[in-house]
Symmetry: C2
Subunit: 423 residues, 2 copies
């Protein structure tokens, strides 16, 4: 048996009871003959409490010190977890990101892992210990300062360690049973997906599915590390994310993996842009210079009479104000009429590698939305994804209609287990 | 102007307001032209809360992991303090014990500093930053694991850094105005001491005075680092601890520095020990093998009729059970009658280098106790200290009587400022 990396999120280790429950699960894996490396997040609300403290002493906490502060959270959870494991009669050692060899660039608060040198971790597990590693943190290659990896960083830590240690699997334990064909809070008949390819998972992650972040899946795909997303509360099998189906039972790839939705974006429309070369470039250069990531972009056919066109794009709501300010500064150069800002939108995406070879998918998607009375405002597609923008009010109905139309509904909605504690 | 090391205890940085107040004081020192290195403890009750968490997951938290856990406390306070300073427009960087080069042995929970390599700190202050260092922690030379220095460890960190950085002074900020001639909670007329020698301070520290720990003073004496103990709440001058008086005004060494008391010890009496060579050695070897530190030791003259003697010693109450168990195991070999354990005792000590040249001091001490009706149970002396053991109930009266007899009482008890916040 080889080495497994297990990652436990903050909700799994929210209190002493949670830590003890997780410790038992870790010891089980060890008893089954695995070498076990565990990546752990900060307990429950710890990170929020630390952020709150920082805001009390400084309105704009500095990057380096903010990272130093936040990383205390994992230091607490990992030490407690190691203690709880030792209390079960097994040897455990905890390591900070720095001690575990998680080396990053110097961009505080959202550093990227550039190398993992897990010598101390390998030594520790070779000596029979369970190694506990702080998620979300590393040490910058240049300055030797402590860094944090940003939202979802612990998942990335786990996958990066799994790659560096040549692990059999990276198990991501969370408070849901796996990846579902849609958000079970919206679609009661959503089904847990047994296996999904890296490609489909990447599209779901960038379309609003929150179980795994894009960066983590991207890392796993690059190093071909199978991820097993599963609940830390139940003993159920979760979702395998990998190149090929895992395990003894063959799993067939579905034509459609799932329906994702995202209500975190807003739509900006630049109205009355002169339809000549360079105007769009000016607009998007201004957005890029403000370091704003945009998502969908649509340019209408220009009206022949006026020679003017409209350009729409979506972006995170949190970047809305910054984008409008940046665009206003280009108004005199571009000469557009008005700016419209709309944050009452939702994005609904259908994801599945099967749509490459099933030409009817797009039509069926639009029909389902139409039958549900949902109006489409923007459309964008990739090889294995179709996304539309609708009114935010329509999102739940739209997701359910599409889910049903593509035969994704579970036959038995009792089978869906989602969230909760104590199981 | 040279470099100063300032140390702030947990009560000085108990909340966001405290951190902001301390930040202002640090910035003042910087504005006065000093290079400033700050050592900070964990906020208020943080350490106790972490210990409580540890006890919830494991009845006997392991050394290595316990240290990893506790050091999160300083990581939080130091990052917040750096943020608060930056918010005042000055540059600050925080460093863990490990980053600051505090190298220790591998004895978890009570490691000893064996070297300080403050290259990063020196670099940081040379670049114009205020450097904030986590107190109480280091990194073990052999295992590279995180260690903690035990109770009062932050003071030792500060003195050790001051020595390594060749600082002008190590300022220990606390919630009292300095070192007093007696505990002001017991003696209302206790006076703040302006200057005290390392030697007298060492005796006070080992006799129950809690302002500075013995280990910290010992370190300062070895490297000749003047310590200035003062309040972080008031702007008053505190107490200088050094080889020679500091500052422009000459300060004369008092004959008697102060009266200390200690109610944390218990007395063990081994009754009916055969008075022959080797018996005492057997008894104290058993205590030493149980790793118990004893304090005073007294052996009575043996009764001629029986050839039996009694041996008494004092030790921390927390070690009482262990000592009795260790002694019981020697009973058959030593052949003593009974063991008596008494934890209702107090130790009262008079400290002052002047007693070397003033032969009347011992007599005056005993007379003062006698006049107050206090019975003496044990006596022990050093060159500059006399200690007696009395009933615990008598301690306050005894301390006050001795304080008055040696002319230590302040003329104006309004002058005594002790503890409190907001000043």
């Amino acid at each position: 048996m080889g080495l497994v990396v297990q990652k436990y999120g903050g909700s799994s280790v929210a209190d002493a009871e949670g830590i003890k429950r997780v410790a038992k699960r870790i010891v089980e894996a060890k008893k089954n003959g695995h070498q076990v490396v565990v990546v752990v997040s900060a307990m429950g609300d710890t990170t929020d409490e630390l952020i709150d403290l920082a805001e009390q002493v400084s309105p704009m906490p500095a990057g380096r010190e903010f990272d130093m502060l936040l990383t205390a959270g994992e230091r607490i959870s990992m030490a407690l977890l190691a203690m709880a494991i030792k209390n079960l009669g097994h040897e455990a050692q905890s390591f900070t990101g720095s001690q575990a060899g998680v080396i990053t660039d110097s961009v505080h608060n959202k550093a990227r892992i550039i190398d993992v040198t897990p010598g101390r971790i390998q030594q520790s597990v070779d000596a029979g210990n369970i190694a506990i590693v702080a998620g979300f943190q590393g040490v910058s290659q240049d300055s030797k300062d402590i860094t944090t990896l940003g939202r979802g960083g612990s998942d990335t830590t786990a996958v990066a360690l799994a790659a560096a240690l040549d692990a059999e699997v990276c198990e991501i334990y969370t408070d849901v049973d796996g990846v579902f064909t849609a958000d079970p809070r919206v679609v009661k008949k959503a089904r847990k997906i047994d296996w999904i390819s890296f490609e489909d998972m990447l599209e779901l992650a960038s379309s609003g599915s929150k179980v795994l972040l894009h960066r983590c899946v991207e890392y796993a795909r690059r190093y071909n590390i199978p991820i097993h997303v599963r609940s830390s509360f139940s003993g159920l099998k979760g979702t395998w994310v990998s190149n090929e189906p895992q395990g003894s039972e063959p799993m067939e790839q579905a034509i459609i993996s799932g329906v994702a939705h995202d209500t975190s974006e807003a739509k900006v429309t630049v109205v009355g842009v002169p339809d000549k070369p360079g105007e769009a470039a000016t607009i998007f250069r201004a957005i890029a210079d403000a370091e704003i990531n945009i998502d969908m972009v649509v340019q209408n056919v220009s009206a022949a009479a006026t020679g003017l066109t409209d350009i729409s794009f979506t972006l995170p709501k949190t970047e809305g104000r910054k984008a409008i300010e940046a665009l206003e500064k280009t108004r005199s150069r571009v000469g557009f009429d008005t700016l419209r800002y709309d944050d009452q939108i939702a994005k609904i995406s259908l994801v599945g590698a099967g749509m490459k070879t099933n030409p009817g998918v797009t039509a069926m998607f639009f029909e389902a939305l139409s039958n549900a009375g949902v109006n489409i405002e923007l459309i964008s597609t990739s090889e294995i994804r179709i996304s539309v923008v609708t009114r935010a009010d329509d999102v739940n109905e739209a997701v359910r209609a599409v889910h049903t139309a593509f035969g994704l509904d579970s036959e038995n909605d009792e089978a869906v287990v989602y969230g909760g504690t104590g199981r």
